[in-house]
């Protein structure tokens, strides 16, 4: 096979293709990671590694008014803006990591450093063993960037024309190109739109074409910067489902930034929270809730025959009352007391239905971002 390597393990003769996969008797498939450092499958470095990565921008301050403008012609005050401060983390193959933070927290700056678009002012990073900002073609052939707010396709031409150019840029063989395009346009349900000018497509269709453009060359690393921004609910769902399917089949390392919690909750098992350029949390979504959510939400649906329940002191003694009326009681209860409170509610009121839910992840993250002190 082209670009592959023969590996002999305990008398078994195996062949590795260029992506590090092999077959035994055509039946099963086991993946070895082909690393830049050599064939050391079990000790392969992570796909993305960042070590104290930092970026500082210099901006100028100007006084308001015409006088300020004239003054600025001769002298201006410089201010340093620390967009990213000593960010360290790793991302493995097949992971989708969510980057979460307020506007200006440094998410996009971090992604752009890892994509090699901007140079860091400090620290180190490796993507597939390469320093991204050195922009080697061997790396660029394996990464993809999708920005929800910036288009990469030629506006006045059908998407199919842009894909042909990308095929040339990434040196995709005809067969591979046709297969991949067929697969991607099929899953995203845009086969009929391939020959229509991009500017005439809806926002959702345009975003799907952007995804196809980014994934045509089957990248091993994918950066998604707000891919569902501005899309309707149906389109958002379609894109999320597609990304999950794609991840299952191709196992790229993915970093996703989004302000939509549905994107994060649906796609990411692990999130990194940035606050003012610093990583304040790196872990699973469950851990965010366990670590920061000190309460759960208990919702009780009263039976139709139940008398009306007011916001009585005995109810407030059980927990913080969110909703009380129209036959529904919703309480925020501290974790340790959930079982007791649930039992008490069942005892006191004629309950038709009872639900116990974790606190909303978005609310928890918002709380973390607002806090001045670090995490416990």
């Amino acid at each position: 096979m082209e670009g592959g390597v023969r590996v002999v393990i305990a008398g078994l003769d195996l062949g590795l293709d260029d992506r590090g996969r092999y077959r035994i008797d055509g039946e099963s498939e086991v993946k070895f990671r082909r690393c830049r450092a050599g064939l050391s499958a079990l000790s392969c470095p992570d796909v993305i590694e960042a070590d104290r990565l930092s970026k500082t921008f210099v901006v100028h301050k100007k006084e308001p008014g015409l006088r300020g403008s004239l003054k600025a012609l001769f002298r201006r005050e410089r201010i340093e803006k620390h967009a990213v401060r000593e960010a360290s983390f790793r991302v493995d193959e097949g992971e989708i990591v969510g980057l979460v933070g307020a506007n200006g927290a440094g998410k996009t700056t971090l992604v752009k450093m890892l994509a090699g678009i901007i140079h860091p002012t400090g620290g180190e990073a490796r993507v597939l063993g390469f320093r991204p900002w050195e922009r080697e073609n061997r790396l660029r052939r394996q990464i993809a960037l999708i920005m929800g707010q910036k288009a990469q396709l030629w506006w006045d031409l059908p998407a199919a024309d842009s894909f042909l150019l990308l095929r040339e840029i990434y040196r995709i063989s005809d067969a591979q190109y046709r297969e991949t395009l067929d697969y991607l346009s099929g899953i995203l349900n845009v086969k009929e739109q391939l020959q229509i000018q991009v500017r005439r497509l809806s926002l959702g269709e345009r975003m799907k074409m952007e995804l196809i453009a980014a994934l045509l060359h089957s990248p091993r690393v994918v950066y998604l910067d707000e891919p569902t921004i501005g899309l309707d609910l149906t389109a958002q769902r379609a894109i999320r489902d597609f990304l999950l399917q794609y991840r299952e089949r191709h196992r790229p390392a993915m970093i996703l930034t989004s302000h939509y919690m549905e994107d994060i909750e649906r796609l990411c098992r692990r999130i990194i929270i940035l606050r003012e350029g610093e990583i304040v949390f790196d872990g699973s979504l469950e851990k965010v809730v366990e670590t920061y959510a000190d309460h759960k939400v208990v919702t009780v649906q009263l039976a139709k025959t139940a008398p009306p329940v007011g916001d009585a002191p005995e109810l407030r003694a059980l927990g913080e009352v969110d909703v009380c009326g129209d036959g529904v009681i919703k309480l925020r209860v501290s974790r340790g007391r959930v079982a007791d409170v649930a039992g008490e509610l069942l005892r006191r009121y004629p309950v038709a239905d009872l639900a116990i839910e974790e606190a909303d992840v978005g609310t928890i993250i918002e709380k973390i971002l607002r806090e001045r002190e670090g995490p416990p």
Partner: protein, 265 residues
């Protein structure tokens, strides 16, 4: 008040980029003036004449230096295509919602955009009276006449550019038309070569166009070549051209707004 506000906001915007200001002043305008000086000197050097038309070598150099300074003010932001961009990109919509005239708004922006140019002209033009003292008969009266002529020329140039850009309501790209206007104004307005060096038949034809009032007329006023009566007549014609072009602009505006969809082309 709105006019003044719009003007000052635009002036502040232009001066917020100080690199642009200094580069435009020292290198840009300076380079243009320098090239013209060499052109004038070369004409006299290689012709061997002491006088070409009514100009001595110093007189011609003075002409080219001053015409560059005057053009900087008269042309202002002409190639920025603000009006046609508003039409193409749908940015005109917000102006249509404002309780104010779009034309006046745009002219206020143009005047505001002049702020850095005025400072540059003052900085680079301050040495001219000293270097060329005695070369031309500049008096207070001629200076005032020149300033008034420049003001009208600025309005005329703005109107010509705006009328061309209003064609954007029908044509897919008007940039070429703007360049054509600039080229024609440069030759027929006296920017590339003094109009007095044109043959008499050409000058007679040009007198029926608006171009001589853009650059040549203000310079003639400054150098004392116009009597008050000539000046008044010229100003009348220039203002007449302003009126005529403005009426044409109004007609194009009304027809164009019928086509306007608000979402850009």
């Amino acid at each position: 008040m709105t006019f003044w506000q719009v003007m000052t906001i635009e002036a502040r915007k232009r001066m917020s980029y100080r690199a642009d200001f200094w580069l435009g002043a020292i290198l840009g305008l300076g380079a243009q003036i320098g090239i013209c000086i060499f052109l004038a000197l070369a004409i006299f050097r290689e012709s061997g004449s002491e006088r070409i038309g009514e100009y001595t070598v110093r007189g011609m150099v003075l002409y080219y230096v001053v015409v560059q300074l005057v053009a900087k003010i008269v042309r202002s932001t002409e190639m920025e295509m603000g009006v046609s961009q508003d039409i193409y990109e749908g940015g005109l919509t917000r102006y249509l919602l404002y309780p104010t005239s779009y034309g006046l708004f745009k002219y206020a922006q143009q005047l505001g955009a002049l702020a850095p140019s005025l400072i540059q002209v003052l900085l680079l033009g301050a040495w001219v009276p000293f270097v060329f003292a005695g070369e031309a008969e500049v008096t207070l009266a001629s200076a005032v006449m020149c300033l008034a002529a420049i003001a009208v020329a600025n309005v005329l140039y703005f109107l010509l550019g705006t009328v061309i850009q209003l064609v954007a309501s029908w044509a897919d790209n008007v940039w070429s038309l703007m360049v054509a206007n600039r080229i024609a104004a440069a030759l027929f307005g006296g920017f590339m070569i003094p109009l007095s060096l044109f043959p008499p038949w050409a000058r007679a034809i040009l007198a029926w166009t608006p171009f001589p009032y853009l650059f040549a007329f203000p310079l003639d006023a400054l150098f004392g070549r116009l009597s008050p009566a000539d000046w008044a007549r010229g100003m009348g014609l220039a203002l007449g051209w302003c009126g005529g072009v403005a009426i044409l602009g109004k007609i194009l505006w009304r027809r164009g707004m019928i086509q306007y969809t608000g979402v850009g082309i």
